[in-house]
């Protein structure tokens, strides 16, 4: 069976510490002016004393039906055999169509390579060695869970089967592979 890597972000466990952001930067040599992942702290929501913050992870959603891949004129943006939305730097001319087409606004031009960059689940480094992505490994509260959703025994499958979860902008039909476990307080805003 082919793998279907997914990432689950538990918004109850997340504390917005940005350790994932820093770990990603050092693992992937992301230049200082740009970033592959942010956890935005939104709020406070609710009324006192029932206040809560929303921890919104912003990184590539690894869409199964990826708009960036569809619009890329040269096929430089592609879905690899492992299902991960990837970039072939040699084919890219830098037309920015993928950057504009991404509904999640997570693609950016890497100032060093002049090519769009984004999260790839650390596929060339940590994933290739059989390790979890840097953000997952470093998370102090275990808010992130990464694995193969096609394996019913995997931790991600168990989580997705037993916990309420949602995907962002599901109405666009992009089928993101980043799932979120919503905060127990307040409503779900996808």
């Amino acid at each position: 069976m082919t793998k279907r890597y997914v990432l689950v972000h538990d918004e109850n466990k997340c504390i917005g510490c940005q350790a994932c952001n820093v770990a990603c930067r050092s693992e992937n040599n992301v230049p200082e002016s740009v970033t592959r992942i942010q956890v935005r702290i939104e709020g406070p929501h609710g009324n006192f004393p029932n206040l809560h913050f929303k921890y919104n992870r912003v990184s590539c959603e690894q869409c199964e039906n990826a708009p960036c891949v569809k619009v890329c004129p040269t096929g430089a943006a592609y879905v690899a055999d492992d299902g991960i939305v990837s970039i072939n730097e040699k084919k890219c001319v830098g037309c920015l169509y993928c950057v504009a087409a991404c509904p999640y606004k997570v693609r950016f031009i890497n100032p060093d390579t002049k090519v769009p960059d984004k999260c790839d689940f650390c596929k060339k480094t940590r994933l290739a060695r059989g390790e979890s992505p840097a953000c997952v490994s470093v998370c102090p509260t275990d808010a992130l869970c990464f694995g193969d959703a096609n394996d019913p025994q995997s931790e991600v499958s168990q989580l997705l089967d037993t916990k309420t979860n949602y995907q962002q902008k599901a109405n666009l039909g992009t089928q993101p592979r980043v799932y979120r476990i919503p905060s127990r307080k307040g409503g779900i805003k996808a």
């Binding site: 917005g16 702290i41 096929g75 040699k90 920015l96 950057v99 606004k105």
Partner: protein, 315 residues
Amino acid sequence: MNNIWGSMEQYDPVVWNWIIAVYLFMAGLSAGSMLVAIGLKWYKQSRGLPTEGLPVVKAAAVIAPVSICLGMALLVLDLTKPFEFYHILLNYNLTSVMAWGVIALLVYIPLVFVFAGLVFEEPIRRCVPALNGVLKVCRSLEGSLNKLIFALALCVGVYTGFLLSAMISYPILNTAVLPALFLASALSAGSAGNILVATLFFSKKESDCIEQVHRIEYPVAFNEALCLVLLFVGLNFSGPAAQAATSAITSGAWASVFWLGVVGLGLVVPLSASLFAPQSWKHSKGFLVTVSCSTILGVLALRHFVVYAGQSYIS
């Protein structure tokens, strides 16, 4: 105060800037001027009238190649890797509207040069006798070439609209009306451009076939206005994000560009000029130049409005 999560600079939703807007205008101008010129030729032929040396056709033979080439130059310079643009000519992803546009332009651009070559056959034969053979072959194929150029000009005019409407998360762009709007405005830019260049450089009598070109202006302007109404009424019925995007025409800097540039210069000025101006003005050089410049600026404003306001509202 800085965010704990870092800079938000890279998350600016406006990715494509004025360079793209100017390219979209240039491509529309080129396609529109070709459609008008070939249409006029067919109209004259169907009535058994002579089609050689028409000032409007001469104007199109200058505008179409020049504007599409300038547009292409802008497009290439805007790439983050301009020296590697040739990859776009080697690799084609056929789910991408841009790849279809590349294919259409790859055929369209050489053919508009052939069109221009046939319009200016005499001076070319005199200056470069080596081209005699090629021109002869092209002349024998002229009928079919014109049909092909007409079809390709339609593609070029429409694809620029589909290029933007393929971006699913921008409510203003992601509509089926956009390609039709771009085609209608390309036709108005094309006819205005043809009239402008014809009056300035090619017309002996001041009203040479400009009359016929004027005749398409009403239906084209009507279609353009209709598309704009459809676009914003449609947004109003398409859910909260799309509804929020209708404020593009009610508030902010782009609302003024829309009402003053797109509606004012592009539609109201040319239409009221042809409705209310005294008959004695209608064929004067100054009047024709002013009105066509106003239309052209209106279409330029429309492309800027669509590119900037379109990207500013995200669903």
